[in-house]
């Protein structure tokens, strides 16, 4: 392991020298890396073409350029395409800084030497972040490769008005029995209790994550996804047994709906609750402010008292610096600004097309939470209750396992829940058959 790391750093150094020798500009930026403000022009790779994030990025970049006079070239790619092509992107001619995700997804590329060490950035702005964010930004070699921007929790979403009509409140749905009772009550009213869609293959991973964490605890979940525990374990079967109890309360067309189909059920008041990441709140807001104000989130109920509600899936989005970029110091300098409260404020000041502020829960602990709206405050509460943060199944395990193996496995389970033994056998067999990481 350490041999590989040394090999990579040696290569990086050689590459740096080659670039420095080739162009005066690059050579200049290498020299200027020693603490100077002017690290030269850089390129920014955005992982989204959505209006909201684009407005935020542009505002952040404008503030950075105004402060440092460093020009930033903006290159935005649609998120799915960007994600699928990241490996090539990083080996080719990547932008200096690019948007990515924390945890395993970042470590995977850091291990291959494709990300630049950002320890110096963390030395400067590290005290503005809680320890859990630093852990999520750290590679397997103990160095930081990531600067967090924002997060959102996964939890049970419902509409306040419907909860009121059903005579429910957040503290009447704290454990599994109460939860099933709630679903039963919704079913009796002719509602879908647990709106679900899994056409995309990733949506139901969130349900697996939370059930596994609630039943078997954080440590087992993390170990399972890292291959240190077996999918054929009785504990995993227990997860599917609990999950099967939810099926009668789901919409029957789970495999025909993508996540937004499930969301529409909640929006149209045809469903009583939905487990999802809070990011979809933007859709409610777009529909109408009243719909957004009606939206609420609580933590997924407790199942095993030993673990309580101590874990939450809360994916962290942020930035990395590409080792193969032409201006690593520029990228790091940009992230020093972006991760600092100054950059966070510039991002938060961005406005959407209607002139409204874009809601964002920043990873920086300096963000003034009193400006949060009610829904954001609830998200924060869900987050604060949890002791352990997981990133989401497809961010916590190997990319060549999550999407191609776990996704279809869960889909086939939905088709035939009785096949669960066959499915976990196949999951384990496919994990065992994966090639070792380079």
């Amino acid at each position: 392991m350490s041999d590989a790391t040394h090999g990579i750093s040696r290569r990086t150094v050689l590459k740096g020298a080659a670039v420095g020798g080739l162009g005066l500009a690059a050579g200049g930026s290498l020299l200027a890396g020693c603490g100077s403000k002017s690290t030269g022009p850089l390129a920014y790779g955005a992982r989204s073409v959505d209006a909201g994030p684009t407005a935020q990025n542009k505002a952040l970049i404008a503030a950075y350029t105004a402060k440092t006079k460093n020009e930033v070239k903006y290159n935005a790619t649609e998120s799915n395409a960007f994600q699928n092509n990241l490996s090539q992107y990083l080996q080719g001619t990547p932008d200096d800084t690019f948007e990515w995700m924390a945890g395993y997804r970042m470590q995977f590329f850091a291990e291959q030497g494709l990300l630049a060490d950002l320890t110096s950035v963390w030395d400067t702005i590290g005290d503005q972040y809680a320890e859990s964010y630093k852990i999520a930004s750290t590679g397997l070699d103990g160095k930081q490769y990531f600067v967090p921007k924002s997060w959102y929790p996964w939890g049970m979403h419902f509409r306040k008005s419907m909860f009121k009509d059903l005579g429910l409140s957040a503290d009447t749905v704290t454990n599994w029995d109460e939860f099933l009772k709630m679903l039963d009550g919704m079913k009796k009213k002719g509602l879908v209790g647990f709106a679900a869609g899994d056409k995309g293959g990733w949506e139901a991973m969130g349900t697996f994550d939370i059930l596994n964490a609630r039943i078997n605890g954080y440590q087992f979940h993390v170990d399972l996804l890292a291959g240190r525990e077996k999918w054929t374990d009785a504990k995993v079967l227990d997860v599917f047994t609990h999950w099967a109890q939810l099926i009668p309360y789901m919409n029957p067309n789970v495999l025909d709906l993508e996540w937004d189909g499930a969301m529409q059920l909640l929006l149209q008041k045809k469903a009583g609750s939905m487990l999802m990441g809070s990011w979809f709140g933007g859709n409610f807001k777009e529909q109408s402010q009243a719909d957004y104000d009606d939206l609420s989130i609580i933590p997924f109920p407790e199942i095993n008292p030993e673990h309580g509600r101590d874990t939450v899936d809360a994916p962290i989005d942020g930035w990395c610096v590409a080792a193969n970029g032409t201006n690593n110091d520029g990228g790091a300098d940009f992230l020093k600004f972006a991760g600092d409260m100054e950059g966070v404020n510039a991002t938060l000041a961005a406005k959407d097309a209607n002139g409204a502020l874009i809601p964002m829960t920043s990873a920086n602990k300096g963000q003034d939470t009193s400006t949060y709206d009610a829904f954001q405050k609830e998200q924060l509460a869900v987050m604060d209750e949890a002791k352990y943060i997981t990133q989401f199944l497809d961010r916590d395990t190997r990319p060549d396992f999550a999407g191609p193996v776990v996704g279809p496995a869960i889909q086939s389970w939905f088709k035939n829940p009785k096949d669960v033994n066959k499915i976990v056998d196949s999951l384990q067999a496919q994990w065992d058959a994966l090639p070792p990481l380079a």
């Binding site: 073409v49 959505d50 080996q91 001619t93 993508e258 937004d260 929006l267």
Partner: protein
């Protein structure tokens, strides 16, 4: 007289039978036509509805509003002129080079007999059998290595020329195959008399074969244009700057990270499909003859 009547009756009977058969066939074709046209109609229908309406009332609800707003939004968000230009800058040279090189090889393997000519043709056709997903990693590495070797990292990778080259390489097998089959239908005597008249190999190609190849080149050109126009894969894996990518990737700009406004996407898809449709309707004849190209070689 009676024979006449019987004959007439038989004829009527036959005609009626034929009519029923015809009706049956028409119904059959009709069903298939509807099955084919339905997705297109549905796309257009979807593109006219606002997403907000669908989100609130469901896909199968009756529309409250129908308008062209999605088209206006798609045009403004897709940055059309830039991406259409990118597509043109990739498609035009790629089609031209494919036809040029394809016809050269086809010319040699079909007009001159030498030891390896059949093997050569097979080699080119076999290249066609490899799926792009299988070979893209080596191609990608090759582009990167070459760029690094000459000191210009974007020589082929992240450059339209790199994409043009890979299209030429990939389509040339098919072009060679089709053009050589077509050339074999041109009588050998024409070539022989050209040679007797003292034409060099080059004159033989430019002055004799090329003019005769024109219909084949036209239809193959139309086919190639649609194929290369529709490519998304190569532009994605061989380019890192989105503003250099073709129109197919601009469609991605209409797709959100989480929220996909399918109504907007449908409008974008209709816009992106327009140029190929226009090309198709203008060159319909060539397109159809292109489908049967070389298939009648005895």
């Amino acid at each position: 007289m009676s024979v006449d009547v019987t004959l007439q009756a038989a004829a009527t009977k036959y005609r009626n039978k034929q009519k029923i058969k015809d009706r049956f066939i028409s119904a059959f074709i009709g069903v298939f036509a509807i099955a084919w046209i339905f997705p297109i109609i549905w796309t257009i229908w979807t593109s006219l509805r606002p997403y907000k309406d669908v989100r609130a009332n469901g896909v199968f609800s009756l529309p409250k509003t129908l308008n062209l707003q999605n088209y206006a939004d798609a045009i403004s968000r897709m940055d059309l002129p830039l991406y259409f230009w990118n597509t043109f800058a990739i498609t035009a040279p790629a089609v031209f080079l494919t036809l040029f090189f394809g016809s050269l090889i086809a010319f040699v393997v079909s007009r001159y007999s030498f030891r390896w000519n059949v093997s050569l043709l097979l080699l080119f056709t076999a290249g066609n059998l490899l799926p792009a997903q299988l070979v893209f990693i080596p191609v990608f590495k090759m582009y990167i290595t070459l760029g690094k070797a000459v000191g210009i990292p974007r020589l082929l990778y992240d450059s339209p020329w790199g994409v043009v080259l890979i299209h030429v390489a990939f389509q040339m097998g098919f072009a060679t195959f089709v053009l050589s089959s077509y050339m074999k239908t041109i009588p050998k005597e024409i070539s022989e008399s050209a040679m007797v008249d003292g034409a060099t190999v080059f004159t033989h190609y430019t002055k004799v074969m090329l003019p005769l190849l024109r219909p084949a080149l036209a239809s193959l050109g139309v086919l190639m244009t649609t194929w290369i126009y529709n490519d998304f894969f190569w532009a994605l894996v061989l380019m890192s700057t989105d503003s250099k990518r073709p129109i197919t990737s601009a469609l991605g700009r209409l797709q959100g990270e989480f929220v996909t406004d399918y109504n907007l996407l449908a409008a974008g898809a209709v816009i992106a499909a327009l140029p190929t449709l226009i090309v198709f309707f203008i060159l319909r004849k060539q397109f159809v003859s292109g489908l049967t190209l070389g298939s009648t070689k005895g």
